[in-house]
Amino acid sequence: MSNVRRSELSTATSATGELVATAVLGAAFLAFVASWLLIFQWVDETAVYVGIRVLDLLGGVLVVLGVGVAGVGVGSRLGYVDTTPSATAGATVGVVFGLLWAVLGGVLGTLVLGNAVLAWLPVAVVFGGLGLLASVLPREDVGSTVPVAVVLGLLGAAIGVGGLDAGWTWAPAWSSAVFPGSELVPLLVVFGSLLGAWSAAKARAGFGATGRQAGAFYLVRTMVFGMLGVLALLVGFIVVNGVDTMLTGAGLGGHLAVPVVGVTLPWVEFPFLLNDTGGLFVEIPGVLPAVVGTLWLVFGAVLFAVPLGVGTAVFLTEYAERERVTQIVEVATNGLWSTPSIVFGLFGLAFLVPRISGGNSIFVGQLVLGFMLLPLVLITSREAILAVPDDHRGASAALGVTKWETIRSVVVPAAMPGTITGVILGVGRIAGETAPLLLVFGGAPYPNSTPDVIGAFEFSAQPPFVTNDVLLSPASALPYQLYSTITAGVFPKDVFTNAEFGWGTALVLLLVVVGLYAVGVASRLYFRRRLHQ
């Protein structure tokens, strides 16, 4: 059945069927997009197009979808449209349509008989059974179109001419929220258009195995591109809302005084990135302390996690002889990877804070983020070392090179690209980490100075001989800055409101993280290409 291709000598009738199905797909897509626009309130639900209210228009589109889908299905059954349907639409379709009909029956039962479970439940069950039978028993072209067409038609009629409109509300007893028609109707249309499009996509490919493939692919594609759409929306929101804040006062009018020569050069002016957040004399508050704090955090975490992770990876792949050791470390690594970030914070609070700084500090923050980075570094560098071909090791050993020399000059250099990529991607993840910082790191919500770690080293004859007050005191980091902006209430300066400053911080944070990701992904592609050459 499945590999039967429709003959290329398609007749006029099959072209009509395809045409109708394509039209239905197009209409469903339009309704889908329009409903989301309504839900996002980019289109007002009381708007009027071509003399019809927009919700009624959507209802009308649903009716058209139903008629179109049913038309193709029945046409195919009666032989007017040339298709290759299977004997039945299959259990999946039966279950989906059965559930759909059950919901329909439940709603009708409630409307007619009242809101008692005993009243609507039997109706729902009977309708569900009917829907199941109606979609499974007839040939596929009827079974996968007519049951859904009936539901679409009824729904469309209820929206278009019935009482289901913007002013209608649904306030179920179990919920504290009230569902207004203005939001519920677009949601129903989204579902309806997806169902209609599913059947239409099947019909367009002529039912049968190819038809089912077309329908399934259509649904999967819609989901995936919906996901990417959400991603685009997230990024879009942050960019649109944050860009004004970030660019406040920015321009080319700045001056850079070169200290020794005494010359002033024209320089970029970027107050949001280069100013302190608090402080009396700051005109445009910026996020410099948070940026510097994030840099120090990332630097410390990498310094801590990379030697540990790479060392462990080398031991596991090159030295460990017993399976059991590898297994234990693997379980520990996966455990660390899936440990919730806030638990790392609790651990830092219980173990490190009292022993190192007695309070929130940069150093403890670095260590805790290092713990979180460790499994990522370990997993990726271990994969990279395992990917080094055994031939390299054998060739090196054949030359009389010792095992350690081989590891040092053959294995580790060959595994470097993978490790570096892993570290960059891992850094991208911990740079945005907030939860542990709340417990072990964060300081004042609007800091008025940047942490000067390098200048704060002091040496003494007393143990521990080296001290660094700045490293042992709290600071700010970009994600922490965003959190404290959200929770702190009123912003101290008039230039920005709290929300504006938050959007600006979010944009800077996003740029940092996305930048790291881009570098990581690009280096992965680069190294992979070089490997395959």
């Binding site: 590999n3 929220a177 493939q213 990417l228 540990l308 520990a332 660390l336 350690w404 979010a506 990701y517």
Partner: protein
């Protein structure tokens, strides 16, 4: 069946004894191997390094200011050892890093349990089961019940899973089976990027846009409820599901798929009836990991929930004014809690950690089984 079991039990002491003897033998064998293979100087270095590391850890645990002395000793020993016996020093160092990695997880478990012991002694089993007011107060000698937070975590996790599981599996199928190479090179990094967007950013958008939307349109009693938080958490768990499930689907051997296609199946029939069932354990491992991520997600929920502790009625009313999960209570109150209150937060951490670990181990087991099955190791 029963007789078999009994024979097993009877055989146990003997086998156990044999095993102990075996491992003892292995140990002596290993020790003499080590002696004969390693130079005297290297043995001395190993011993010194061990002493220094143990001393460092002990002093650090004690909070002593003298911790720096064994650290310096460690560095000095290692420098000398590196110059004289580089190979041994390197091996010792990599072994040390391995021990450190494993001990971090051990320390986490130990300290969580240690710090939550006072509240367990104070509240007993009520800590997990108490459902009548007061649920969470420092009055009356301190009453802390984790039950409402566990309900909250369950509600947000269920909503998040309902979003992340189907969409994630669909995404994995798309990336590994449907998409052309060029589309895949765009979609896959896009999904990875979604995982990289910081959770606090999701939370900020959720707070300023999604929560406001629900408050204005659906007239929820407060700005912030389980439903919107669960939706956002689901979006955040989505990339984990996609990545792991996609890995699983691409490990299904090409020969199986080709076999199915050669029989005349369509690509979708192959995916549905061959690839997905073969990779099912890997896909479910991905879903389990995603559930774990959703459970442990902190910042978005902290920013979006109302931090009112209680049980919605009925319990699945996700639009109610209540909103607190295990993670949010720790993040929200951890900064200024002390004494038994802090201990209660640690107990919350233990519950959370335990649940996430169970999910993690389960997913590893499932994945391991799949590799065994597809690797053809069946006897």
């Amino acid at each position: 069946m029963i007789r078999q079991l009994r024979r097993r039990v009877e055989g146990l002491p003997g086998r156990l004894r044999g095993r102990v003897a075996d491992s003892g033998e292995r140990l002596t064998q290993g020790a003499s191997d080590y002696r004969s293979r390693t130079a005297d100087g290297a043995i001395a270095m190993h011993a010194l390094v061990t002493v220094c590391v143990v001393a460092t850890f002990a002093l650090f645990l004690d909070g002593s200011q003298w911790t720096v002395v064994p650290v310096l000793g460690f560095l000095a020993t290692l420098t000398v050892g590196w110059l004289r016996h580089q190979a041994e020093a390197a091996k010792a160092l990599t072994f040390l890093t391995t021990v450190a990695t494993v001990s971090i997880l051990t320390l986490i478990v130990a300290f969580l349990l240690f710090r939550s012991e006072p509240i367990v002694r104070h509240m007993g089993l009520d800590l997990l089961t108490r459902t009548e007011a007061p649920l969470w107060t420092s009055n009356e000698g301190g009453v802390y019940s984790l039950a409402p937070m566990m309900v909250g975590t369950a509600l947000t996790t269920v909503i998040a899973t309902a979003i992340a599981a189907p969409l994630g599996v669909a995404g994995a199928v798309y990336v590994s089976e449907i998409a052309s190479d060029r589309v895949r090179e765009v979609v896959k990094p896009g999904i990875e990027l979604m995982a990289g967007i910081p959770s606090i950013t999701y939370g900020f958008i959720g707070l300023t846009i999604i929560n406001q939307y629900f408050y204005a349109e659906f007239r929820t009693p407060t700005i912030g409820m389980y439903f919107s938080a669960g939706v956002v958490i689901g979006l955040m768990a989505l990339p984990t599901v996609v990545t792991v499930a996609e890995d699983a689907l691409s490990t299904v051997p090409e020969s199986i798929k080709s076999g199915s296609l050669a029989m005349g199946s369509t690509q979708w029939q192959t995916t549905k009836s061959v690839t997905l069932p073969a990779g099912l354990s890997g896909v479910s491992a991905g879903v389990l990991l995603g559930v774990g991520r959703a459970m442990g997600e902190t910042m978005a929920a902290t920013v979006m929930l109302s931090h009112t502790k209680g049980f919605p009625s009925p319990v699945f009313d996700v639009f109610s004014n209540y909103g607190e999960t295990l993670t949010t209570v720790i993040a929200f109150e951890g900064g200024n809690a002390s004494g038994i209150h802090m201990s209660a937060l640690f107990a919350g951490g233990v519950v959370l950690f335990g649940m996430v670990m169970v999910l993690s181990v389960a997913s590893q087991y499932v994945e391991w089984r799949m590799h065994r099955k597809l690797g053809g190791d069946q006897q």
